[in-house]
Amino acid sequence: MNKSIKELHDSLKKGEVTSEDLIKEALEKSHDINAKYNAFVTIIDDAKPTSLTDNLLSGIPFGIKDNYSTKDILTTGSSNALKDYVPFFNATAVQKLLDAGAVPVNKTVLDEFGMGGTGTTGHTGIVKNPWDPKRMTAGSSAGSACAVALGVYPYALGSDTGDSIRKPAAYCGIVGYKPTYGMISRYGLFPFASSLDHCGVLTRNVLDAAIVVDTMKGIDKNDMTSWDSKDINLYKSINGEVKGKKLCYIKELCDLNNYENPTEELKSHLNNFMDKLEIFKKLGIEIDCVSIPKNLLDALPSVYVAISCAEATSNLSNLTGIIFGPRGNGKNVTEMMMDHRTKGFSPLIKRRLVIGSYILQKEQQERYFKNAQRVRRLLVDAWKKLYEKYDAVILPVGSGPAKHLDGSKDILTKDTAPLEEHLQIGNFGGFPSITIPDGFVNNLPVGLNITGNCYDDANILNIAYALENAMEYKNQIAKEVR
């Protein structure tokens, strides 16, 4: 299970292992790690082997974030509001994988409804970082990142509204990829913020990410925002040729001089990033330093909060305990719905919904919501301008390795640095964006991110593949370092 998809496929083909063997191993490992790291809501013990086909995913186990609807399998969104919910249909992306013969073996823990970046707010408890259980995995695709890093299976599905695939990937030392908005149908994915939500995958190498998304993607009659990508074959278009490619990084985010009292971790993280850029240049890639207005970058976290909370307020309005979810108590319907929601949502969600509701108020919409949408456009336009000249923007992920659990409060604080939040640009613009591990700080993994222009997924993955091969962190399996 520590192997890549292609290696597993070849082993299956040669008869060295069977689908049954792989499933058994994945299930055993799931049980083993769950006690310690709490990565799963459900372990699918009765997972059945499938026959080997030409599809590289056939017969191979994988994990599904618990906000993807799975037919006849509990799907909770890691929330008490849906703690007993069993969908009667599969999310389109899940169905496509099942059709390819892939075998789901567990449902992974997330921050409740994907609304959090710590991996600590799921209704089944905190997900711990496989490199250091005192640290967080980040989120919201916490369980998926943890399980892939520990080698339970080669890949797990994630979803990404702000950085929910790409940040936990960095903290767990693996690859996290969210393709262009609409490349994978969102049908059946529990919504957080519809204009920012993306489906994607967590893997241990870039090729695996390409293989999985090739199967998940495609236009879907059930999702009007999905588009036809039949002419795109990510796996086949990766060749590692990157000579002459152009990348840029942003001065305001990467220059240590912009930080007043940088921590040692931040220093090492940024220095490591700059060192790696030198390696990449040797591949024939041109890398420039560019500047983005500071006021735009500073506004980024608030723009994200405003838009995501506002949309979430509306998206979570179907959770009333009437059609699904536990019934609330109350004398009348309103009290009943209120009881359901009060008990069903964690404090974090409640706060975000209230903020979203305030932002959407008639009197406040112009100032908060619409202005946030305007700045979103400015930021997206600024990035699109970069794409006129560059293939992609390359940036370090976060301000260092995984954060300590005891210091975790998923609250927007004044010193929240744009460095922690810049991945949200990928969601604002619907840009393809991939995180790959780029080294260690304090023996803990850190990552870098490459974000390119819409529909340019093949190019982005190809660059990521070349960079990955220029470093030595590909296919790494997490081991506790302390």
Binding site: N222, T313, N318
Partner: protein, 476 residues
């Protein structure tokens, strides 16, 4: 005319005809069995997404064009957020920022007078589920959830209950002529909200606006408006006008009164925002042109055409255009060469009488225009009398056999001039006294001679030719 000027605005919700719902592919049709026309989208299961029905967009645009509205360059939708057990998503998908039509205008007829009505906007949205109420529980049926609705909002430009109902009737006719809705109030397909205020005739500022919500028949619209005008007028008479609040009321059918629901202060903030799940759709001018071509000549336009070009009376033309199918029947008659007045007479008397009696659609009426023509042709040829024509009409209907089956030689009129002249000569010879009297000025004896000819021929003499010959013989 009342003591005060009433100012009325209408919001008319009308269910559209389609195979599937507006944002899901569940069936759009009335179903007695609860929850038998539903999809996961209609019940807002987590992760489901709306997908817009092309026909609904097209029909909404059709109405927008028919009402002379301006169409937007891009079509998109907004979410109207509120909690109610009949609204599974917790929001209704509707159009706030960019409706399918704005700034329209039409002319309606009320009491023979032409009245201009300004349309604020017309927009496409989805219906809610329906609730069945029991002793201490309500049950939710999602069959109606997601049924396409068109909401039309007028400017406050109507001034009486009669005008309001005339407008609604007019709109109902437009919907039916355009074939976008059955527009059947009995099936609950039309629901209205009414805004009413009163003011002095010489005042320039509008009075306090009261909204009466969710009225489900035109009769109730009429009663609610009149009740509100009376209520508000009485308060104004008593110097208590300030007691009228900007509020929402509902109409109570039993008492015929309106009852307060909530004041403006309690108005719900629906927190409208653009739904990101439904991408902006560009409405091409070519598509609009295509849709425009599908709009038939509407009732009032047809009425004018019938009156001006075919010289029908206001009354007759009014009867024919009442339903699109009547007008179409009438026009089919014209197309196969039946004279307009004759077609009109048959349609407005015999045919409508029969279809009302049989309670059928004119489309299912046995005597199609071409079968009707068989009868009319025989009258024109003089083969049968109008009395015989009617007999054939009913017989043919009853036995469902073509009229020509009943037209036989025995029935044939005597239209042969020579034959008639011989008979007439014989009668005149035998009636010398009467001929004398007639020539001396007793004019009414002319009918006597006609009667004699009929008697002699057992009613088969062609009356026109008979009169012609008699005229020639007696008046020269």
């Amino acid at each position: 005319m009342g003591k005060y000027k009433a100012v009325i605005g209408l919001e008319m919700h009308c269910e559209l005809k389609s195979n599937s719902k507006v944002f899901s592919s569940a069936k759009n049709s009335y179903n007695e069995t609860p929850n038998d026309n539903i999809s996961a989208v209609d019940m807002a299961f987590p992760g489901t997404l709306p997908v817009v029905n092309k026909k609904c967009v097209k029909d909404a645009l059709k109405m927008s064009i028919a009402l002379n509205c301006t169409q937007p360059e891009y079509m998109y939708f907004d979410r109207k957020n509120y909690y109610y057990p009949d609204l599974p998503k917790g929001y209704q998908i509707t159009q706030m920022a960019s409706p399918v039509g704005v700034n329209g205008h039409i002319t309606i007829e009320c009491n023979g007078e032409k009245i201009p009505v300004n349309i604020h906007d017309i927009h496409l949205e989805e219906d809610a589920a329906s609730l069945d109420h029991y002793y201490d529980t309500s049950c939710i049926d999602y069959n109606r959830a997601g049924v396409p609705l068109l909401e039309l909002v007028t400017e406050p430009c109507l001034h009486s209950a009669l005008e309001a109902v005339a407008f609604l009737e007019h709109m109902r006719s437009v919907y039916k002529y355009c074939d976008v809705s059955e527009a059947d109030t009995k099936k609950g397909q039309i629901r209205c909200d009414v805004n009413i205020s009163i003011m002095d005739y010489d005042a320039t500022e509008l009075g306090t606006r009261v909204e009466v919500k969710n009225i489900n028949s035109f009769g109730n619209v009429y009663d609610a408006i009149n009740y509100e005008i009376k209520r508000q007028s009485e308060l104004k008479d008593q110097g208590r006008y300030e007691e009228i609040e900007q509020e929402t009321r509902r109409f109570d059918e039993e008492s015929g009164t309106t009852i307060r629901m909530r004041s403006k202060a309690d108005a719900i903030d629906y927190k409208y925002f653009v739904d990101p799940n439904l991408p902006k759709f560009k409405i091409s001018p070519e598509w609009l042109e295509e849709i425009k071509k599908e709009i038939p000549l509407l009732a009032l336009e047809r009425k004018e055409k019938y009156m001006n070009e075919l010289n029908l009376s206001d009354y007759d033309a009014g009867v024919i255009i009442k339903e699109r199918e009547y007008a179409e029947y009438f026009e089919s008659c014209l197309n196969i060469g039946i004279d307009a007045k004759i077609a009109c007479n048959w349609l407005t008397t015999q045919i409508l009488g029969e279809i009302n009696k049989l309670e059928i659609n004119i489309k299912d009426f046995y005597l199609t225009p071409s079968l009707l023509k068989q009868i009319i042709d025989e009258i024109n040829k003089g083969t049968i009398s109008s009395k015989q024509a009617k007999e054939i009409f009913y017989k043919s209907l009853e036995e469902k056999k073509e009229p020509k089956t009943y037209i036989n030689s025995d029935m044939a009129q005597i239209s042969d001039n020579d034959e008639l002249e011989t008979i007439i000569n014989k009668i005149l010879e035998e009636s010398q006294t009467q001929v004398e009297q007639y020539k001396n000025g007793k004019d009414n004896l002319f009918d006597y001679f006609v009667g004699q000819v009929m008697k002699n021929t057992r009613g088969k003499a062609n009356p026109v030719i008979t009169k012609e010959i008699l005229n020639k013989k007696l008046n020269n």
